[in-house]
């Protein structure tokens, strides 16, 4: 087995976000997130429920980026039902972001003044409902100071300071588990829930992450390295889940 590349480290870091979730809808959005979710299910979280990317829950390890791949349908979950599932809370979503601040407030609606944006992006989409109803993680393939900023232009996904303002009742379903980027993994396990550097990917220096982040991260005395994929995980990624190497279009090795 040849050595793991950065994209594969990211896949495993994503998979680790779902560890302990048990029987929950694992709903990663994006190429590497989808591969990571499926890897988690093929290894240490076998009871996760996952979609086929459309209206079905698919019970098999569907390969990504393979049109017409077989789907073993275990349930029908069209959009109206998806909202019921997420309001019910049995879901852990992984979304992207165009901007994020130190408390995990996320924006992908637009850049600039919302009333007349410089750049219209996705809109609020599902971020408000997701972040206030169930666990959320993020995957950011381009860790940069333009993305990790002091203040986001529009808060779509709720961060920890905003959640705290809602009080213990209003925020009782809010959790941002992890933020995985092409350089590192972050979490919010700090006294005031500011973003903390959890681990750097192999080959990345802590200073690199600091420079690529537009606010001050919480950094413990010793920062661990993100774990490498096992041989079994590499085989699953390369041969079963992503045989066409679509992951390399999102993060370069």
């Amino acid at each position: 087995m040849t050595e793991a590349t950065r994209d594969e480290v990211c896949v495993v870091a994503v998979a680790e976000c779902f560890r302990g979730d048990g029987e929950l809808l694992c709903n990663p959005i994006g190429v590497i997130p989808m591969i990571g979710g499926r890897l988690a299910r093929e290894t240490f979280e076998p009871y996760l429920v996952m979609t086929d990317g459309y209206a079905m829950f698919a019970a098999n390890a569907m390969p990504v980026g393979v049109p017409g791949a077989d789907v073993v349908v275990e349930a029908w979950n069209p959009y109206p039902q998806m909202f019921s599932v997420l309001w019910n809370g049995k879901r852990h979503v992984m979304m992207g972001a165009s901007q994020m601040d130190r408390y995990g407030n996320q924006n992908f609606a637009c850049i600039g003044d919302w009333h007349k944006p410089k750049a219209q992006l996705l809109g609020f989409r599902g971020a408000p409902g997701n972040t206030i109803n169930h666990t959320t993680s993020y995957f950011i393939p381009n860790h940069s100071p333009k993305l990790f900023v002091d203040h986001v232009d529009v808060v779509c996904g709720v961060g920890y300071d905003r959640a705290a303002e809602l009080g213990p009742v209003g925020s009782r379903f809010h959790e941002i588990r992890r933020v995985v980027t092409n350089l590192a993994t972050m979490d919010f396990d700090s006294p005031d829930h500011r973003m903390r550097l959890r681990s750097v990917h192999p080959g990345v220096e802590v200073d690199q992450v600091v420079e690529a982040t537009g606010f001050e991260l919480v950094i413990d005395d010793t920062v661990t390295e993100t774990r490498l994929p096992t041989d079994d995980e590499l085989r699953l990624i390369r041969d079963v889940i992503d045989p066409n190497d679509t992951r390399k279009s999102e993060v370069r090795g």
Binding site: Y54, A55, M56, W76, P78, Y79, P80, F83, L86, W87, A109, C110, W114, H115, K116, P117, K118, A119, Q120, L121, L122, G123, F124, R125, G126, A127, P128, G129, T131, I132, N133, V154, V155, C156, G157, V158, R162, A163, E165, L166, P168, V169, G170, S171, R172, F173, H174
Partner: protein, 290 residues
């Protein structure tokens, strides 16, 4: 007895007026009632409020100057994630926006369908959605909170009442019983019930007794109770997908999206495909492309 509600796209447009609020079914670039959208594009209608899980319907109507206000959770072409014509409209400030969480929009339509003024939700709390759209407010639950204390504060998502809804179904009978054969109904049933009048276009009108020939009774989710008029429009969702009848015309969608880069390209596209006599002429023009 099943009434006969058949009509044409032009008949539908004749019932519409400037300033109306129109809901459009489907989702992004999927099963959109495009033949009806094209009929609006050919008409002098203006100042419309369009409510949609948005795709090229909103983009086209914005580009043609038909939209005063757009109500949406997103506007996307699926394979082209950001709708380029809609982006231009937003960035130039030519359309007013009510930009919702996707689930909030479902609740707004559901509230209108059930004829209640709002439905409560947690979605929106803690975000800037309530800051940029101060018309959406919170409400305190009259019941004790989960800790036994004060009732919890929730967003009161207002009803989204529609003058008219436009939806596209795979099959229907002449009375407006509609059938979806693809993977998802989206919010088309809620749109139909949230509207004073609903016009349903369909790939094919079939006899009522044949409605279960191609799909089980579970696919018969639109009742004629909700439908004012039925329009037979084969390939009517073009260029959006209408599974299982046909997929998205990706080449045409790319051609459409590329016209956002210059007014000249848009003008040429409009002249060639949109400023045609009627839907039949449109279908002839696109049929001659390949």
């Amino acid at each position: 007895m099943i009434p006969d509600k058949r009509m044409t796209e032009e008949d539908v447009v004749a019932t519409l007026a400037d300033g109306m609020t129109i809901g459009i079914g489907g989702w992004a670039s999927r099963r959109k009632p495009m033949s009806l959208v094209r009929a609006i594009l050919r008409s002098p209608l203006k100042d419309l409020t369009i409510v949609s899980y948005g795709g090229p319907d909103i983009g086209l109507l914005c580009a043609a100057g038909k939209v005063r206000k757009a109500v949406y959770g997103f506007v996307s072409l699926d394979t082209i994630p950001l709708e380029p014509h809609f982006r231009i409209a937003r960035q130039s400030g030519t359309v007013e926006a009510m930009e919702l969480d996707e689930g909030m929009m479902l609740l707004g339509l559901q509230a209108a369908a059930w004829r209640v003024p709002f439905l409560p939700t947690r979605a929106g709390l803690g975000t800037d959605l309530l800051r940029v759209m101060p018309d959406i407010v919170t409400i305190r639950s009259p019941y004790p909170g989960p800790d036994g204390g004060m009732g919890e504060e929730l967003v009161a998502m207002p009803a989204i009442e529609l003058d008219v809804a436009l939806i596209h179904m795979n099959r229907a009978d002449q009375g407006g019983n509609g059938q979806f054969l693809g993977p998802d109904l989206y919010m088309d049933d809620l749109m139909a019930m949230a509207a004073d009048r609903t016009y349903l276009s369909t790939e094919r009108i079939v006899a009522t007794e044949d409605l279960t020939a191609e799909g089980s009774f579970h696919t018969l989710r639109i009742s004629r109770l909700m439908v004012t008029g039925v329009i037979e429009a084969p390939n009517g969702a073009h260029f959006t997908e209408c599974l299982p009848d046909y997929g998205r015309d990706e080449a045409f969608q790319k051609e459409y999206a590329a016209t956002a880069s210059s007014p000249e390209l848009w003008a040429a596209f409009k002249e060639k495909y949109l400023d045609v006599a009627d839907e039949a002429e449109y279908q002839r023009v696109i049929g001659a492309r390949s």
